[in-house]
Symmetry: C2
Subunit: 467 residues, 2 copies
């Protein structure tokens, strides 16, 4: 018996059997995606059309079903929820990109958090926030209870415009959108730009939550080796040429986790290469206010054409008052507004945006930043000295911010060290959560503002001794 | 010349030419997705393997590129951003699901908004919010400046647990996750459960932003006709059997836009049908606090097994203090936490959650709701009488809430009416923005709390006269 194309129907039968066997053995579970037609044809050494027929027959029998634009899935009564974690269980699971976030956010108050990504509460401008809250108690009813406009507080957007103008970017009001947080800003951009399977370039190492976020978008994440001057340019240009990535997501000012700063030459070549290959750059400026002076910035060189700038006030003002922003081409902002309405209805709380605008407007914020920078410079020196006493050495001394990216002595593995330290109430940030290539196992990221307690060093010393 | 399978290579050439012609004529633009192999094979009357070869050749030439799991796309230097709107331009564009949101959110202060989905600012408990803000001025530093835990304020989650217990659902603390808003709650669930091309059932009519949100998830949206007793059961059961939808998204308490309430029989059969077909239900309870007494609820019948409850305080407390919640199976909540970290870092601002918890904790909220219900009952009667004088009749008289879903006289079309009224500073909500099948053109949704100004009726009367 043959089909219309003269191919033995037996081959189709064999392909159908192969799938059924995989389902029976749970190699393919309900909700799992079947291999692509091409890949499975190669696996079975048959033509793609044989697989198309086999899938068609299984679909007709209700064993698998097609999802438009996304392939075939094994049917079954259980929905297949998206699992981002590499293992189950919040606390016991592997050291994946969520490990540091969950450990730090849900730490009990007695825990020490040299691995976390924020300043201690007592370093934050709490008196200014209290004053702002009292002032809000006298605000108009509309600020207190309405949704606010789709772009967010005009007062805060004007302050951002003025700041960008100082840096040399002429931005108009329709190029700024306020969002619920810096992370939400990047997420909205990913929703606009990415489809499952797209390629995105990040630095290796990069902020671990870029990895988690991109995984949620089901894209292919490729790392570019990061040097003290910025991304390795030869590797970056090669990746752009071979992988046609849609996005390059980076922090250029006080890079997370390394604390590095772009050189002007690197910045220039990154912008040029991205333009040549049609790659959009998302530049996360969240640590920019910690810089002693403005370092080269991709968004400034590019004038917000192919570079999108995002930022927030979580690191310098308050992480509790959630508010971020996107600065980009006006036509992209227009589409981002629709996406924000669809997925969040409105961006930041008007109360939050008003509070932030009130604090930024005065001279207070500038002097608060100057204080923070002074205090951090001192904490950085102290932390580096104390870590040196354990043989832990910074990869470079950053010009600002609160991170020190450090190499452990004697090829020690940081994930094991972190698993051990957490039992002693010290939360560390092991290198590989930042590394797409998993090549940073010998590193730890330290937050110098969270190392005042002697116990951090004691626990580290014990953990390093502990074999 | 033939290929290895004995098929003339000429057919592949012809398929390649056909694609190139479409690209040359801009029928396929850079960033557009190519037809599926199967569909294009049918279009050209060739075998699928011919198309697989043609696409492979075009890919090798860099004309198109595969995105893993999502088909082939035309390459080009411009990225293909996701466009949710049916037409460009915020104000002038068609009456799509974003029309009401954007008109209402960005309305100038003199505009009247009988089409919007919230109470006037002066109906909201502003004094309680002011008091709450002053109290926050005395809160711990950690509340004011830290991110807070991954699940959100324990105080607010405890209050929700107590409320659910009163309604007869035994929920544990690990079954509740706080989110930045009700919309974000549904969005997170969609991210967990849906993949592009999946089928989702909504009521027809339904809240317009469900349509916008689901469009952002690139799923297939199917409407079930809505009756005064809830979804049409025969149609619902048929849809579940034929379409295998992953989700059914609905508001059962004071349905938006109709104001209808589920009957116990409908509620029971909806839950049973969803369980039988493996469809998860998302029950948006955002208007529940406006009910005079608890109506049948899917989450209660089901005990939060396959039904996920979401809600927020935007309608009764403040839309500016953004805070929503998800109540669901603990294993789903665990995955939703990862998704929330990845895409937003944390959920609601601790300041916002603390403020909401403070207001809910006292006896004030209960008496505020009683006041609102009394005031709304009066406004509902008045609005219905005044609309009747124009021949505009409610589809049913709701038991609570602020909506009246009304039919226009003489088969008048509400989109044209809304386009006209907006020029006179009155923002209406035309029926088809709520309708997947576009069968509600004769309806308008009125917000009875936003109709005190005589000008609403004057503009409506003029618009109805105006041909």
């Amino acid at each position: 018996m043959t089909d219309g194309n003269g191919r033995p129907a037996r081959r189709t039968d064999a392909a159908v059997e192969a799938i059924l066997a995989r389902i029976a053995s749970r190699a393919l579970a309900p909700g799992d995606r079947l291999p692509s037609v091409r890949r499975f044809a190669a696996t079975l050494s048959v033509s793609p059309s044989t697989i198309v027929e086999a899938y068609g027959r299984l679909e007709a029998e209700g064993v698998i079903r097609a999802r438009r634009g996304s392939g075939f899935y094994v049917t079954g009564s259980e929905p297949p929820p998206l699992a981002l974690a590499e293992a189950g269980g919040a606390r016991e699971r592997d050291v994946d990109p969520f490990w540091v976030s969950r450990q730090s956010l849900d730490a009990d108050p007695s825990a020490l958090k040299p691995g976390c990504g924020w300043l201690p509460a007592e370093w934050m401008p709490n008196e200014a926030i209290r004053k702002g809250l009292r002032a809000l108690g006298r605000a108009d009813d509309a600020i207190l209870s309405d949704y606010g406009g789709t772009r967010g507080s005009p007062a805060l957007r004007r302050l951002l415009l003025a700041r960008f103008a100082d840096e040399g970017i002429a931005v108009t009001a329709d190029q700024i959108l306020l969002t619920g947080s810096g992370t939400q800003a990047i997420d909205l951009i990913c929703r606009l730009m990415l489809r499952p399977g797209d390629c995105v370039v990040v630095d290796d190492p990069c902020y671990f939550n870029f990895r988690a976020l991109l995984r949620a978008h089901q894209v292919r994440i490729v790392g570019v080796p990061f040097t003290p001057a910025g991304p390795d340019l030869a590797a970056f240009e090669r990746l752009l040429a071979t992988e046609s990535p849609r996005l390059y997501v980076t922090n250029s000012a006080l890079h997370n986790p390394t604390g590095a700063t772009l050189t002007p030459q690197t910045a220039h070549r990154v912008v040029a290469a991205a333009a040549a290959h049609g790659t959009t750059i998302v530049e996360d400026d969240i640590f920019a206010d910690f810089e002693p002076s403005l370092s080269p910035r991709l968004a400034i060189l590019d004038g917000l054409d192919r570079v999108i700038r995002i930022g927030s006030f979580s690191k310098t003002l308050s992480a509790s008052i959630r508010c971020g922003y996107i600065a980009a081409r006006a036509d992209w902002i227009e589409r981002l507004i629709d996406l924000q309405i669809a997925t969040q209805f409105t961006g930041p709380s008007p109360v939050a945006a008003e509070l932030v605008a009130g604090i930024l407007a005065g001279g207070f914020y500038r002097s608060h930043l100057a204080d923070l920078r002074r205090r951090l410079a001192h904490a950085r020196e102290t932390a580096a000295d104390r870590l040196a006493s354990l043989g832990i050495k910074p990869w470079l001394m950053p010009k600002g911010g609160f991170y020190l990216w450090c190499r452990l002595p004697n090829g020690r593995e940081s994930a094991a060290l972190a698993q051990r330290a957490v039992k002693d109430g010290v939360i560390l940030a092991p290198g590989n959560v930042f590394s797409v290539s998993q090549s940073a196992g010998a590193f730890l990221r330290f937050n110098v503002a969270q190392m005042a307690d002697e116990r951090v060093l004691t626990v580290l010393r014990d953990a390093l001794k502990g074999g």
